[in-house]
Symmetry: C2
Subunit: 331 residues, 2 copies
């Protein structure tokens, strides 16, 4: 299997991408095609020891900036994103990973790959840590204004991902809202509630903001605006709490001592949070395989995203999504 990696995507590109790719080829049965400007990649790669049969270079001279408008980015036909997409379409790669401009990745792949038959909109799922495991929050930013039927499909796609990648037999699906009762919420969630209730999904009902990290459900559905706010708020809180604690701990000798002790505990918590993050966020519903990695991805995060891409292929997630959507069509 070959996974194409957008080598010019993340904040630390191409270093994280190269190191992540090399690590992946060592621990997994996979070849990685690094996609980007050939000379840049060759020079950067020359500093590493790697198996040249497993690390390939695919030329893509153009680069898409992190703040570039998707509508402009899709015109760059030889960008690292576009070339990754083409490799999949031409059968040269079975999946791709990008830590680049998410909007540009989405827009480019929608043009090249389209959606899985029956899927109205692709969505980005993100794994968050819970007290008992992980929860898939979907959508976290692909669709800011949603129709009720999109949310039903996010739930169906999230269920498939949770089943085949996380290994939950009968995933519980919650609808993110502002009260437990069916009547609580906005227009969108009110209508989505009815669709979810009448579907064959294992629908738990509404969940509130306070329930996101408690593990009461396996999949939480929301529009991409709310999901993105929650995701970014959540990502920031660890750092803020640590800053506050540090401010407290600097005040006295006892607390300073405690601070030193604490470091170990915090590092483990950080790992727990990272675990979820480094898996990468699958782009679900697109007719291809793309794992979106955080812009701040480390080499470990890239390696894990490559791993998830191979699992996505091996577990035939898209076939299962097609089946789920076809058998439970509601449009």
């Amino acid at each position: 299997m070959i996974i194409a990696v957008d080598a010019m995507g993340g904040d630390k590109a191409p270093i994280s991408e190269i190191e992540g790719a090399i690590a992946a080829t060592k621990s997994l049965d996979v070849k990685v095609a690094l996609v980007g400007p050939e000379s840049v990649l060759k020079q950067a790669l020359s500093k590493y020891k790697y198996n040249p049969e497993k690390i390939l270079i695919e030329s893509a001279p153009e680069i898409v900036g992190m703040r570039e408008a998707p509508s402009l980015a899709i015109r760059k036909r030889s960008s690292s994103i576009a070339v990754c997409g083409d490799m999949f379409s031409e059968g040269k790669a079975q999946g791709m990973v990008s830590a680049g401009n998410t909007g540009a990745v989405m827009a480019t792949l929608l043009v090249k790959w389209r959606t899985i038959k029956g899927v109205a909109r692709p969505a980005i799922g993100s794994l968050l840590p819970t007290t008992s495991g992980v929860v898939l929050l979907i959508d976290v930013g692909a669709n800011v204004d949603c129709k009720p039927n999109y949310l039903l499909q996010f739930a169906q796609m999230g269920k498939v991902y949770s089943q085949h990648i996380i290994g939950i037999e009968n995933p519980k699906v919650g609808l993110l809202s502002i009260g437990e009762e069916e009547s609580k919420g906005n227009e969108l969630t009110g209508e989505a509630f009815d669709l979810l209730k009448n579907s064959k999904l294992n629908f738990f009902g509404n969940v509130e903001g306070k329930d996101i990290l408690t593990g009461v459900v396996d999949v939480i559905v929301c529009d991409g605006f709310v999901g993105n706010v929650v995701l970014k708020f959540g990502e920031s809180i660890g750092a803020v709490l640590i800053k506050w604690l540090r401010m407290e701990f600097e005040k006295g000798i006892f607390t300073r001592l405690a601070g030193a002790f604490m470091k170990r505990g915090f590092m483990k918590i950080k790992k727990k949070i990272d675990y979820a993050e480094t898996g990468g966020a699958p782009l679900l519903g697109i007719n291809g395989v793309c794992i979106i990695s955080h812009g701040k991805s480390t080499s470990k995060a890239i390696m894990n995203a490559i791993r998830v891409a191979t699992e996505f292929v091996n577990h035939k997630v898209n076939e299962h999504i097609l089946e789920e959507i076809t058998n439970n069509h509601t449009m």
Copy 2:
């Protein structure tokens, strides 16, 4: 000044309400009217020492349950909520505090008090702690489906509150969205952005989920659905992190020791978070004075909400809102 306190509101009613009221009369120049079933309050009060000239009882035989639908609750004309509202209308109290069913409080007061002239919708503001002070998030649940103009008015009302109650001279206002660029967001935030940009407000631009707790702005505007999800998510995170840390710390003797040391730091952080919470959430834009207290309010939270109600009256917040809305009318 007399503040009416819905004595049957919170989870620990009427104990928190009674103790909070007594504490308030000791530290502030205020009288408190406890509103609820007379016999219940008289009996509960009999266990306390208090100044009977400062603690009054106002009879309200009916009670509104926490899960009661607002449409049903407003029919209870002698509920503790309704009687608090009437006391204000009749000049028997200058403000009220309730830790009860927020939807019922909103609905009841909208009927009794209406909005301040020119205000389309009242909104609930909630103070969150930041690394440098507090930020007012508005709306956190009063309006789930908003029009762009509502968000502009939330910003105007939030600005007034931040100025006159928090003491920020020229509050910076941010619009909660999913990217810093003007173009990022949904339909609602796109249109609201234009209104805010063209207003006389000190508009900072979009802020993301990650910016909420960093103190980059003093007021953050959002629709009540998103605001409520963020608020409840945020409230839950402290408890979740502490649970995770505890799980880590129970694993070894060193880390267990560290856990004991840490407690002190955590208690201070908790206080920081509580500080914001215990101020109570003002209902802004309603033509009266009502501070909404958390359902889990302690006596300290009630006392602080009473204090905020007196400040709200003394600083003539509603007059300033009327002025702000009248001078910057955009409907």
